[in-house]
């Protein structure tokens, strides 16, 4: 499981990207706990998409969990809520 927290914005998303890609690279299923993220911008979403695609290529399960309503709004506007597997709670994804 990977937990992200704070605002995943243009300043923080490179760090989030690094953490996500490293987690996917380990080869085990990845559940991204977003309960501590109440703001995510397009650069943060891009990091999630990149990790999702890397996971897909490697046959690694990748899902999001406990997505804050404001972050979910961004995913919906980007039409990515239909692309990602999203669990209501972290425990649902484990």
């Amino acid at each position: 499981m990977v937990s992200l927290s704070g605002d995943i914005d243009l300043q923080q998303s490179p760090k989030a990207r690094e953490v996500l890609l490293a987690a996917v690279g380990q080869g085990d299923p990845v559940v991204v706990d977003l309960s501590g993220v109440d703001y995510i911008d397009s650069s943060g979403v891009a990091s999630l998409v990149e990790a999702f695609q890397l996971a897909k290529r490697g046959g690694v399960a990748f899902s999001l969990a406990a997505v804050h309503p404001s972050a979910l709004r961004v995913l919906q506007l980007a039409r990515l809520d239909r692309v990602f597997t999203i669990h209501e709670q972290v425990a649902d994804g484990l």
Partner: protein
């Protein structure tokens, strides 16, 4: 119409958190609801990012953000000014979202959140002026 915010800040990612807070506060004080304020903050943030990443493209510079409230029509007018070389508005169109790939959704988010979005002739000495409006009532 009266100006509720007039900010000038470095075009740097580390400034954006404070900018988001300032925008949220003024938009809420102007009477917008929480959902509206959230969308507007996101749009302004994405627009600032476009300036930092594409207009200045790594160079140092400044951004001016002005918010004007038109209570007679229940509208907020956002003006984002930079001093970078002129950008071709056609080069920053939203992309097709059916293609799942990282990046390129910022412009789409701005257009979804705001009522109008357009590049207008900037004042003399400025590079680009993005004007966005949002009805809050």
């Amino acid at each position: 119409m009266h100006r509720v915010l007039d900010l000038r800040f470095p075009a740097d990612a580390c400034e954006l958190r404070a900018v988001r807070k300032a925008v949220e506060q003024q938009v809420l004080e102007a009477g917008a609801g929480q959902d509206c304020a959230r969308d507007v903050v996101m749009a302004v943030d994405e627009a600032c990012q476009n300036v930092i990443r594409h207009a200045y493209a790594g160079a140092t510079g400044e951004i001016v953000l002005q918010i004007d409230h038109r209570p007679d029509v229940g509208e907020l007018v956002f003006s984002l000014i930079d001093f970078a070389p002129r950008v071709d508005p056609a080069s920053i169109r939203p992309r097709d979202l059916d293609e799942v790939r990282p990046g390129g959704i910022g412009t789409h988010l701005i257009r979804e959140a705001m009522d109008t979005v357009e590049y207008v002739e900037p004042p003399p000495g400025c590079g680009n002026l993005l004007r966005m409006t949002k009805r809050i009532a």
